[in-house]
Symmetry: C2
Subunit: 299 residues, 2 copies
């Protein structure tokens, strides 16, 4: 099945690069699209069929497109403003894996349908390491045909694909609720580590205790390592959670539903971004707590 | 070493029972104390040297006492009001494993010292299953002598003992900061699952997605199972987190430090308790979200 299957992966950031490499590893004919020449070069060396800055160049050749860009605006720009949707063969499957609102997902579906294209509303999770290993978690909704057409891509990139239902928007909502947890967990980790610093607890000890006890979370273990090491080089940055917690807030409003913890965490990320930490690792939300000395701070 | 080593475990709830069973399994001469005759009978059958409602009966025989009661008030009542401390041999080690404030821990130390008793400030984590397996996580502070005297008990009951330092109160503070995370994670899980219910996401699917993705936490995985199953039989109840998040608030105030997420979660538990869910499983904090139908609700 995979012999003649071609996919274009658009957006070669930490998740997209991993997904594209996984497609190559699975034997799919893989095209890579990004504006960053370093990423294109990396994918070329790994065995991409071709790479470039304009996805339309590969539109006639592909069975599927996987979009791993940052937000709905980028999805719309690539598909509609730059004309990719119009250039794709009818029946091509478009897997939208950016974290976007359910409303945006539905609007994109409507426009893709006008071009006889299949859509899978398919956000992802797992981090860069899992993406590179072909072990992302995919939370997807869409038609049976969309799932079927994308099966080789889902097999190549994910350890587990959840079929949430046929309605476009359900995948987006599950991802946003997932991000509520991810965002609260990072902010809670920062709050806890900041309080430990204030109390004179060695942060490496606090980290070890939590990661071996019931207070642990995936995000605490992954992100508070930045705090212990005093290294805020981003794999995912504060401004990503400003965006994602903003989507949580939009979703909560649209559902007319309270989100006390997510709202609080959103304010913490906003404050961190406004303090100048937007482009640092998301764990830098801890830097908004004053009156403490953290690893890496000037003595 | 363990042949002639005797320990009294006081408080045979879910953690204390597990710890006492682990002491028996490790070959320690183990006395069990509780007010609940069912727990005493269970420990007797498992091979306790003796069980009863008054710890003083075993005071002359034990090398160590492990207190796994609910709060500082109970610790003080047992040790000082009921006269256990006065009855223990000088040099006996008292391991205080209740979740209490650093100030309470220091006050207990002062009074134990008057009786020439060693204190280990040693809260625990891990849940009932880990306690029964002798695999609790212990976060301890105290003198070298206290650690040494309690080594057989620490070996019997824990997979990992952290030595936070010599100062009594550090163990208590680490546990309280750990509970900040545990309490926020349960409340965040409830907020996320409630929002999923409102959005029409099947909760078993939402649970599966999160537990296989980066939004997972130990508490989400353990406690949101109650929500999916519609079963709020408590292993740990809402009122425990009313108490523990109250300790977080006290600690934050004493450190003059903000705790935006912990404060929000504390209010959620208070509200749940006042709504009548105090003695249900802590996941019942989700029941304070209105306008949704949860598994187990009347159709």
């Amino acid at each position: 099945m995979t012999q003649s299957y071609s996919v274009a992966v658009i957006g070669l950031g930490s998740m997209g690069m991993g997904a594209a490499l996984s497609c190559i590893n699975a034997g799919l004919t893989t095209y890579g699209v990004d504006l960053n020449p370093v990423a294109l070069e990396q994918l070329n060396k790994a065995g991409a069929a071709a790479t470039g800055t304009d996805a339309k160049a590969y539109a006639a050749d592909v069975d599927a497109v996987m979009l791993l860009v940052v937000n709905a605006k980028q999805v719309n720009t690539i598909l509609f403003d730059l004309g990719l949707a119009a250039a794709l063969k009818p029946g091509t499957a478009v897997m939208v894996s950016a974290t976007i609102s359910a409303d945006d997902a539905k609007a994109i579906e409507t426009k893709l349908n006008e071009h006889q294209l299949l859509m899978l509303d398919a956000p992802v999770s797992g981090g860069a390491a899992k993406a590179a290993a072909g072990e992302m978690t995919i939370m997807a909704s869409g038609s049976e045909q969309a799932f079927a057409k994308l099966q080789p891509v889902l097999d190549a990139t994910s350890a587990k694909t959840y079929n949430i239902g046929t309605e476009i928007g359900l995948g987006a909502t599950v991802k946003i609720i997932h991000q509520l947890l991810a965002g609260v967990h990072i902010a809670a980790g920062a709050e806890a580590m900041a309080m430990a610093a204030k109390a004179g607890i060695p942060l490496d000890t606090m980290y070890d205790v939590v990661t071996n006890a019931a207070g642990n979370s995936w995000m605490f273990e992954n992100r508070m390592k930045h705090v212990v090491n005093g290294d805020y080089t981003p794999t995912s940055m504060v401004d990503i959670f400003v965006k994602d917690m903003g989507l949580v807030a939009d979703t909560a409003k649209s559902l007319n539903f309270p989100s006390p913890l997510a709202s609080t965490a959103y304010n913490m990320y906003l404050n961190a971004s406004n303090a100048g930490y937007g482009h640092q690792a998301d764990a830098a939300v801890i830097k908004t707590f004053s009156g403490i000395t953290l690893p890496g701070d000037e003595a």
